[in-house]
């Protein structure tokens, strides 16, 4: 069992903040917490190489450092890669997370790290990794390394890892279905009764917390603006030329409205199964209000209506998808010189 261990300058005993600019260096055998790692892994496990890098150098040259780490792990013919644990050290967490993701993706071996839940590396990398919940204190090194080793061994043997709280890793935010003895209806009343009694209960689905989207600055003069319509109501030209799927769409389309004053139902169809479509089928202007905007354009209330609209289906569309599509649409909007967008939904 060959292990490569990544640690920062502090845990390698090179120095504190004054040594944070130290470049990546490879040392033979275990260094610092690596000795504990080797001991806890037991058997024939051996830390064959320790990679040490100053935290500033690592984050300032992240791509190069990560690539070098991957190559050194490959050259060492490692079976397992461990970075940290990093506790509260943010730069250490970020480079460890990035290195673990790259090692797993490129070499296909398990990579493990540990961080405090508030370490910025957690938000960036928790979904793709098993990050052991290290708490804040490096004094807990032994217990934390023990959890890293326990999960690493399960992964090396292909055994199930278990729930985050039980195995000691930070929830990755992914859902699995399991079959249990109690019916959902019974569990529902169980949970309510615990809540009523003020007793602790464990929700089966954590309440999402979404990042607040700041209100954009107001448009100074809409009468000089170029306006565009974007809808997630799934309105597409008849025949659905871009084959936008009606549920969890991964693509969006751009459709010309040039020279038209309103949209006719016979020219369009709806690729969206989540709402009663009849009223939009009768008159697509109800979803893409071309008629009203043309009037405003003629009156001079808006500067200009962009001669295309963008459409996709918002039905059951996960955030991972919509974030990407949103970014793509922004590029299009910017390229067209549009400075005001009306979003219509269903």
């Amino acid at each position: 069992m060959r292990i490569v261990h990544y640690i920062n300058q502090f845990f390698a005993g090179v120095g504190g903040e004054e040594a944070a600019g130290a470049p990546l260096e490879e040392k033979e055998g275990a260094v610092g917490p690596g000795r504990l790692l080797e001991q806890l892994m037991g058997g024939d496990a051996q830390v064959v190489s320790t990679l040490v890098c100053g935290d500033n150098h690592a984050v300032e040259n992240q791509d190069a450092v990560v690539a070098a780490v991957v190559e050194k792990v490959r050259a060492a013919k490692a079976d397992l890669f461990v970075a940290g644990p990093c506790f509260e050290a943010g730069r250490y967490g970020m480079i460890s997370g990035a290195a673990c993701v790259a090692v797993e993706a490129e070499l296909g071996i398990p990579a493990m790290t540990g961080m405090h839940v508030e370490n910025p590396g957690v938000d960036l990398y928790r979904e793709g990794l098993y990050i052991v919940d290290s708490g804040k204190s490096a004094a807990e090194m032994k217990g934390v390394m023990g959890k890293i080793v326990a999960i690493a061994q399960k992964r090396l043997k292909g055994e199930p890892i278990g729930k985050p709280g039980e195995a000691g890793y930070l929830a990755r935010g992914l859902i699995l279905d399991a079959f249990v003895e109690k019916k959902a209806g019974h569990r529902l009343v169980d949970m309510l009764m615990a809540k009523v009694a003020g007793e602790p209960f464990e929700t089966e689905m954590p309440v999402s917390s979404f990042q607040a989207t700041p209100m954009p600055a107001a448009i100074k003069d809409i009468s000089k603006s170029k306006v565009m319509i974007i809808t997630d109501g799934g309105l597409v030209p008849r025949g659905n030329p871009d084959k936008i799927v009606g549920m969890a769409a991964t693509t969006w389309g751009t459709y010309s409205i040039e020279g038209r004053d309103h949209l006719k139902g016979k020219d369009y169809e709806i690729s969206h199964g989540g709402y009663d479509q009849r009223f939009v089928e009768q008159d697509p202007d109800r979803l893409v209000p071309l008629d009203a905007l043309r009037e405003l354009e003629r009156e001079g209330a808006i500067g200009e209506l962009h001669n295309e609209f963008i459409s996709t289906s918002g039905l059951a569309n996960p955030l991972s998808n919509t974030r990407r599509m949103g970014k793509e649409m922004v590029e299009k909007v910017r390229a067209e010189g549009v400075n005001a967008v009306i979003l219509t939904s269903t």
Partner: protein
């Protein structure tokens, strides 16, 4: 309001001379049942098959599953508004054939009837282990209607045939010595005897208006929910034929069987009897098509719970996908703002199995969430020895080896609370 449920145990079903209950064996005279169903002149025939637990059999696509139940004279009618006259369901004595089911298959393909999702009944193999329906003896029914009729008329005829068959079978239990009986009733906001216990209500969605129902679709007391606002219902009305599912099954699964054996309502009754809580009543509601309707319905539901039933706490379930999900959460949030504790039952709406997309709401007080299944678990089903299909499209593929998700096997996922699926966040 009191409802006595008289249970007759059924451990076998056979076709035979006279329809009767012979010990634990239900004997069905197929000709007699068909003649009864064909009194409706929209029908030209009815296919009947018997299926037992553990059999190497697959059937689809499932329109509905109904427990054979029949009302004794003197009580409320059978399926009021569909089969019987409109009167308040849930009163008197109901004979049930426990262990039996009438499983009705669609005679039209999904395309013909405007449906999206097809479900199968799987009687053996890996998927069947997680469905209560695989433990039952089924009479499979496909009603054959006149093809020149409009699809909604054909489905209306199928609905009538389904409840007629269920009542016809259960009448065999009348006059026989029952295995057990149980009386449901004496619950309500003004019923004495449970003072000091938490007053708990149930708010259940019975339809989502995302799909416009057919003009003759019978969902609650024989009507299609057009113009409906939330209804205050006695729990017995749910159990005794007031509500049936829509023609087109939505995400998640709902069957008449689990209205009759409603997991949440039965659980609340049991805890009421055990003096853990005071079951004060229920509200039936729908998911809306627009924001104004949503607000009207959610406030009205919450007001029934808070002011009509005087509840301290409520459990909520949904019908279908994303819009119902939000309507349920908004109702729960309004209730929380009125000081009523809530727990809600959700299905997975994420699509990508990520928690961030699963809930669709972020009301901090709506924090007690039970999960009733998504489509994550997949099975590769073996070739079925016997396949019973209702329509020609299904018949072509039903028996073959196929991969199915949990949501496609009837009884595995269920929004009425019968599922054993739970989410694990990892």
């Amino acid at each position: 309001m009191e409802l006595t449920i008289v249970r007759h145990q059924v451990t076998d079903i056979q076709f035979g001379g006279e329809t009767r209950l012979e010990g634990d064996c239900l004997v069905i005279n197929a000709d007699d049942l068909c003649a009864h169903l064909l009194e409706d002149d929209r029908l030209v025939g009815a296919d009947l098959e018997i299926v037992h637990p553990g059999e190497d059999t697959r059937a689809g696509s499932v329109f509905d599953i109904i427990e054979p139940r029949a009302k004794a004279p003197g009580g409320s009618p059978d399926f009021p508004g569909i089969l019987g006259e409109v009167a308040t369901a849930g009163q008197g004595t109901t004979h049930i054939l426990e262990g039996a089911a009438v499983t009705v298959l669609n005679e039209m393909s999904a395309a013909e009837r405007g449906g999206r999702q097809d479900r199968i009944l799987e009687m053996s193999g890996p998927a069947s282990e997680h469905s209560h329906y695989a433990t039952l003896h089924h009479l499979i029914l496909v009603s054959r209607t006149r093809e020149e009729l409009a699809p909604h008329v054909r489905m209306n005829a199928g609905r009538l045939a389904s409840v007629k068959a269920a009542v016809y079978l259960a009448r065999a239990g009348m006059g026989e010595e029952p295995a057990s009986s149980e009386t449901y009733g004496l619950v309500g906001p003004a019923v004495a005897g449970h003072e000091g216990l938490p007053r708990v209500a149930y708010v259940g969605q019975i339809y989502s208006r995302q799909r416009s129902p057919e003009v003759d679709e019978q969902i609650v007391y024989g009507v299609n929910t057009n113009g409906m606002m939330p209804l205050l219902l006695h729990p017995n009305e749910w159990l005794d034929g007031a509500i049936v599912p829509a023609y087109v099954l939505s995400l998640g699964g709902q069957e008449t069987y689990f209205y009759q054996n409603h997991p949440v309502i039965i659980d609340l009754y049991r805890r009421h009897w055990a003096r853990e809580l005071n079951f004060v009543g229920t509200v039936a509601t729908i998911a809306a098509t627009d924001n104004d309707d949503r607000d009207r319905n959610c406030h009205a539901s919450a007001n029934f719970v808070k002011w009509g039933l005087g509840a301290d706490a409520a459990v909520l379930t949904k019908f279908g996908g994303g819009v119902p999900h939000m309507d349920m959460a908004v109702t729960a949030n309004i209730l929380e703002s009125k000081g009523v504790n809530t727990a809600v039952m959700v299905s997975d709406m994420s699509g990508d199995r990520r928690v961030e997309s699963a809930l669709l709401f972020n009301f901090p007080d709506v924090d007690a969430v039970v999960y009733c299944g998504g489509d994550d678990t997949k099975w590769t089903l073996p070739e079925a020895g016997r396949a019973i299909a209702g329509d020609a499209v299904t018949a072509r593929t039903l028996a073959a080896v196929r991969e199915v998700g949990a949501a496609s096997v009837v009884g595995v996922t269920n929004q009425q609370g019968a599922t054993h699926i739970q989410s694990v966040i990892y």
